[in-house]
Symmetry: C2
Subunit: 390 residues, 2 copies
């Protein structure tokens, strides 16, 4: 196992109606002028934005508004946010939404103190060292950005989408009221479930440095997400199921399930190319298609770990033939994704045979780059995995 | 499930030789004068204290020393620590040790800013609101004080031992090098394992408010501790087993395994009376004796949860009779404690029939107090449990 430092100072305020305390909470931190950042009309229609404004006003906290964040948040809006934040001398950013809104907020928070292009952080041209604090009111359980070190931004002009990781990216606080996710559609809920699973699933397999302690927590988390996921799809108003998904979103990507291990994300890499090829593909849907194919293509390289997964996570106890045990666990993963309404082929996502070479070339830099992973992801493996999904 | 706030800002520095970085680490926080607090001669004999001093000196950090912390740390030494800290205007306390040293350090940290008796915090006469930061170099995996909100201090004069909880009690950082625990004796290692299990085991059963997400993490943690515990007893130099125990110590008592649940500790309450009756009884040894007896006395009140425990933690899959399944899981717990070298009866700990009424009277305040728990712990239940252990 590896040495590590672990520090997650994001405070979680969890429960029904907690978003109405946001003014009091920010008051305790002492911030006085807030940039409220959000996406489309849903936070307006649901009344959430109005309740947040009221809570801030009740606590004499000033604010400016910036909506319009889209999935795969763009650097253009980030720059607009930086300008607005500076003009109004805000001292904190409040993200109302999910991963896209939070990542856009993180990017603004770094850009506020940087004279260059905030995309420089994503391009690794510049290390962030100072930023505005970011608070979150979470409205969808998925990306885990509310507790994570990551910030993924797109530049639509140059067609580059890049993430960067820094401890500074961990938000100051996250307000988590599972009821706010009751209205998330079945499809979006399922995409979120798929993303949450992937964050822990990829950590589970991502490295040859084993550390059982982390794996035990990872197994518990994956079982919880699958169970709660099925329940939330069946009964969108299940408070407990929505709660489990919300917490799992945060804990699946804050590093807990890879303590002492390297966290590589090969399936995420493969998925980013799908979204790049067709921006309408939801991240979670792509992951759901790719995951069983990845398993089929790599399990021969680490049968022991896949047997452990089959027994401890997929809970298959009645199969003594190891090969069949693994195959059954992959089939069970496919069934799970189908049962929550996820697609099972790339064809359903509009990706065709001709796209595969293009995506593999992009990801492997024309065959010159191998992504470090549990099983090294080279161009041939990329093509094999994509082909299996057609 | 319950609403909650969750905030654990303790930074973990984990790995071989990390204690040699302590000067650099403290330098980054900006502290300049440290009270180094420790127990007996082991940190001197092992050379740990010398290495810590050197690291501080290399970073131009001044220090004063206060050793002598005993198990069940006493308020008298705390007062001495407060005096020393004030005389030297220290700005941080560094605890070198386990639960007793850390708790003594926490008590000094509050006493530093309080003119009254620091035991007032334990007696709930006074709420702490300001304290010195406490850093930890952990040398035994057990109490979990390195990340917890708790601080238990004894007053030998008045024969009162009391804990108090506050978010202020969470240390600033914990340096965790599993190699420092290689020299912990088998018996002390086993006592630590027993304490770690109990912190999660009691949270698992402690309340009727179920929340599967937390239970899944709790199950993973308990399985990890039992597996690593057996390995560490067999092979005290197993880095991975010692690592799992060290992290489990921290995560078993930092609140992670009771998110959304009430955390009651009935077996800890019962054990405190054993230690009060005979101060030579190690806390973990008492817990190991009491836990199976507690299970036997309460399982009829919540068979469903005990069945879940039998299947998911004790991994008993071949018993379809529910009653026998539970009984088998209790037997398996007893076997586990025995296999790590823990006693199985109160008699072995020097407690006799005549002590039982005295202990039950003390804990139940002569029958007038019932401890809130999964199954309410009244005087009759106390007596039943103690009797089963004879």
């Amino acid at each position: 196992m590896l040495d590590f430092d672990y520090y997650v100072p994001t405070k979680i305020y969890f429960g029904k109606g907690k978003e109405n305390d946001v003014g009091r909470i920010i008051n305790e931190y002492g911030y006085k002028k807030i940039l409220i950042h959000y996406g489309g009309g849903s936070v307006i229609q649901s009344g959430l934005l109005d309740r947040v404004k009221k809570s801030l006003e009740d606590n004499n906290i000033a604010y400016v508004l910036l909506g319009g964040v889209l999935p795969n948040p763009d650097i253009t809006l980030v720059k607009e946010g930086v300008k607005l934040a500076r003009e109004n001398s805000v001292d904190m950013i409040l993200a109302l939404g999910g991963g896209s809104v939070i990542d856009s907020s993180k990017s603004i928070s770094h850009g506020f103190y940087y004279d260059g292009d905030p995309f420089d952080f994503n391009l690794k041209k510049k290390e962030p060292n100072k930023h505005l604090p970011v608070g979150v009111i979470l409205t969808i359980s998925a990306a885990g950005s509310e507790m994570s070190t990551s910030c993924v931004i797109s530049n639509r002009e140059t067609e580059i989408k890049k993430g960067f990781n820094t401890e500074l990216n961990r938000p100051l606080f996250a307000i988590e009221n599972p009821e706010l996710t009751y209205s998330v559609s079945k499809y979006q809920t399922a995409c979120g479930i798929s993303d949450i699973i992937s964050h822990t699933f990829e950590r589970y397999f991502s490295t040859s440095h084993e550390f059982e302690f982390s794996d035990y927590l990872a197994e518990g988390l994956m079982k919880s997400v699958m169970e709660a996921g099925l329940e939330a799809i069946k009964n969108p108003h299940s408070y407990e199921a929505r709660s489990a998904l919300m917490l799992a979103s945060s804990y699946s990507h804050n590093g807990l399930t890879s303590l002492g291990k390297k966290a590589n994300m090969p399936i995420h890499q493969l998925e980013h190319e799908l979204s790049a090829r067709n921006p309408n593909i939801a991240h979670g849907a792509g992951l759901a298609v790719l995951t069983p194919a990845w398993m089929e293509c790599v399990y021969q390289n680490d049968r022991e770990k896949f047997i452990k997964f089959a027994k401890n996570v997929m809970l298959i106890t009645d199969e003594h033939d190891e090969e069949l045990l693994i195959i059954k666990s992959i089939d069970k993963m496919k069934e799970f994704y189908e049962s929550i309404g996820m697609p099972s082929t790339l064809t359903e996502l509009g990706i065709v045979e001709d796209d595969i070479e293009i995506m593999a070339n992009r990801l492997s830099k024309d065959g010159t780059f191998v992504y470090e992973s549990h099983v090294p992801l080279d161009k041939n493996l990329m093509i094999d995995i994509y082909r299996k999904c057609l």
